[in-house]
């Protein structure tokens, strides 16, 4: 698979079909990180294995702008796993990325691994091993069973008594330092000015207190309703180890349940939160 990716990257760069290939590399201290390859001679840097869990689609909105006024938007090739491809589909649906400015190097995903070699939890409940969209596919679909996500982690929280849930979340969110890494790593968080950072403190001020932090995280998650593809990027970058994806996954679970089984990034349909009723909804909470 690595050789396929390198050969493809070399070809694309040599032809001048893309300006840059975004993939993964191993840094000098042995950590896997995003790699931006501009020269055909540098494609040997690229790797792919179970440590490549970052969602590189995050970088596309930033690159989908002309560098200077009047210049053309450069074309970028990007390595995408099945989960990342769903994020990309959301961005395409929302016109944040031009399809002809992205070359999608899809990878047949064996699943990602934790530091200790065990499979990442999100990969044990994944039902896609091949991306839903790509320009070229690298690797053979692996023989890993695909599993339908039962949202057991979310159910565990749901089963707690109300006060314990509040205590749990207050305890977790209290550690937040408002570094905004979750937002920055999220492929579908792309507002140019985040409402948590408005100069006039319209919604939240600058303070590092529980109300501000709770507001930020609830609203950030809510803005991802029907758009979050559960790629786990937010949680994976949190320097305080807050289980942020539990919030997003709760919303994803409810969206699917209430809005006709909708899953973000699996179709050209935008999030149902912005569309009209179709009659397939099962919305029960109106009194």
């Amino acid at each position: 698979m690595i050789e396929d990716i390198r050969a493809l990257a070399r070809e694309l760069l040599e032809k001048g079909a893309v300006e840059c290939v975004i993939g993964y590399e191993v840094g000098p201290t042995g950590r896997v990180r995003p790699a931006f390859v501009y020269e055909p001679g540098e494609v040997e840097r690229l790797i792919f294995d179970g440590r490549c869990d970052q969602n590189l689609v995050t970088y596309l909105t930033r690159r989908n702008k002309p560098r200077k006024k009047g210049e053309e938007v450069p074309t970028t090739a990007v390595v995408v796993k099945p989960c990342d491809a769903r994020s990309l589909r959301v961005l395409l649906n929302e016109h944040q990325v031009q399809r002809d400015k992205v070359y999608i190097i899809g990878v047949a995903c064996p699943g990602m691994q934790n530091a200790d070699g065990t499979p990442e939890l999100r990969c044990t409940r994944c039902d896609q091993r091949v991306p839903l969209l790509y320009d070229a596919l690298c690797g053979e679909p692996p023989e890993v069973p695909t599993v339908r996500d039962a949202y057991e982690d979310v159910q565990q929280i749901e089963a707690l008594p109300l006060e314990e849930r509040l205590a749990y979340w207050l305890g977790e969110l209290d550690r937040c330092i408002r570094c905004y890494a979750c937002r920055q790593a999220c492929p579908t968080c792309f507002c140019s000015v985040c409402e948590a950072e408005r100069d006039d403190s319209l919604w939240v001020g600058i303070a590092d207190r529980i109300p501000e932090k709770a507001f930020f995280h609830i609203i950030r998650a809510f803005h991802q309703a029907g758009r979050c593809t559960e790629c786990n990027a937010c949680e994976a970058v949190c320097p305080m180890g807050i289980p942020l994806s539990l919030i997003n996954r709760k919303i994803a679970k409810d969206v699917a349940q209430m809005m006709g089984g909708y899953r973000a990034g699996e179709s050209d349909e935008p999030t149902p939160l912005v569309t009209m009723l179709t009659g397939e909804e099962a919305i029960d909470e109106i009194h």
Binding site: G27, F36, Q54, N114, C123, R175, R178, I206, P239, G241
Partner: protein, 350 residues
């Protein structure tokens, strides 16, 4: 050499916690490892410097804390003053009161050295910042030497050492059965009187294991590299988050705003607050009218490195980085300041 047994130390700490505010490293967060994440921050409890009620809450076996000591001298958020309406209808400002005396136990030498940098910025030039000054004055630092340099640490490359006593009032070094104690300052001496220290002859101090030292770029190399495409290439993978700034012991940028809150009792309180900010934020440098001289991500990333190694030394005559390695460990996309320093240091001076 002075010495204290572990039990005596614990008893002293328990007494201290009763008499004044005791800040010490303590484990926070869920015990169990987050199920399924490569995130180093989600592998069980993290250690923070927090107020503790006694020795039992102190984490003794830790590498470095998740956040630096800075949060206790420049809090993430503090109220500068409240604004009230006096009986004549005119505004009255109430400044935040003095804090109680504190003992900061277990501060790592690099974090203490970080305070030297903050001192240079906040106190070194008139007018001094009174909020920082009062916390600094009221706090006695009891350092805990690192038995070794940890993964990603590089204090020895920037002039520090895992057992440096330069910036603490008292330094403890773990030895068989207890701690060797170096009382460094007068402030430390005052505190040490209650410790019950023993005098032990011929106490041998362990030599901490060091990480490989590397050379820093020269001023000329920094100057010559400013407009290099190198910053774009490092900036390519930067997420423009604020982790590096917020875990840093020497970053000090802040934002100031007024806010109005209503207490549950319905009372309106107007106050001016100051909170951490970071030069990595998109809007950090936006001016009235919308001009932004640091609109590009690589310009912001570059600013952080130059601030540490070029601007702070010139502006405040202090070394801006203490080599604690927190930003290295915490960066989600492996932007490694050691790598940047070594890349620049390898360049031919222009």
């Amino acid at each position: 050499m002075k010495f204290i047994e572990i039990r005596a130390l614990h008893e002293w700490l328990d007494r201290l916690a009763q008499e004044m505010t005791l800040i010490a490293p303590t484990a926070v967060g869920p015990q169990e490892k987050a199920p399924g994440s490569r995130n180093p921050a989600a592998q069980g409890q993290q250690v923070f410097y927090r107020q503790v009620e006694g020795a039992a809450q102190i984490a003794w076996d830790f590498t470095r804390t998740a956040l630096s000591a800075r949060e206790h001298f420049m809090p993430k958020t503090e109220t500068l003053f409240t604004i009230e309406t006096g009986p004549d209808g005119k505004a009255v400002l109430h400044e935040t009161k003095l804090e109680q005396p504190r003992v900061f136990f277990g501060i790592r030498p690099c974090d203490a050295r970080g305070l030297r940098v903050l001192d240079a910025v906040m106190l070194g030039q008139e007018p001094a910042d009174v909020y920082y000054a009062q916390r600094r004055e009221n706090t006695t630092l009891v350092g805990l030497a690192c038995p070794q340099m940890w993964e990603d640490c590089f204090c020895n490359s920037v002039g520090g050492a895992p057992d440096a006593a330069d910036d603490v009032d008292i330094l403890l070094i773990q030895v068989e059965g207890g701690f060797a104690v170096q009382v460094v300052t007068e402030k430390g001496e005052r505190l040490a009187t209650g410790m019950g220290l023993q005098e032990v002859e011929g106490l041998e101090l362990p030599q901490p294991k060091l990480n490989e030292q590397f050379a820093l770029p020269t001023q000329q190399q920094w100057l010559a590299s400013f407009n290099d495409v190198y910053w774009q290439r490092v900036g390519d993978r930067c997420l423009s988050c604020r982790i590096c700034s917020y875990v840093c012991p020497t970053c000090r940028c802040f934002d100031v705003r007024d806010e109005t809150v209503v207490t549950p009792q319905g009372e309106r309180i107007v106050r001016r607050v100051r909170a951490w900010d970071s030069c990595q934020g998109v809007n950090y440098r936006v001016q009235a009218g919308g001009a932004n001289p640091r609109a590009n991500l690589e310009q912001r990333l570059r600013n952080r490195f130059y601030c540490k190694y070029y601007y702070v030394p010139i502006d405040y005559a202090a070394d801006g980085c203490v080599g604690c390695g927190r930003c290295v460990t915490a960066c989600p996309v492996n932007i490694d300041i050691r790598e940047v320093l070594q890349d620049l240091a390898r360049r031919e001076p222009a």
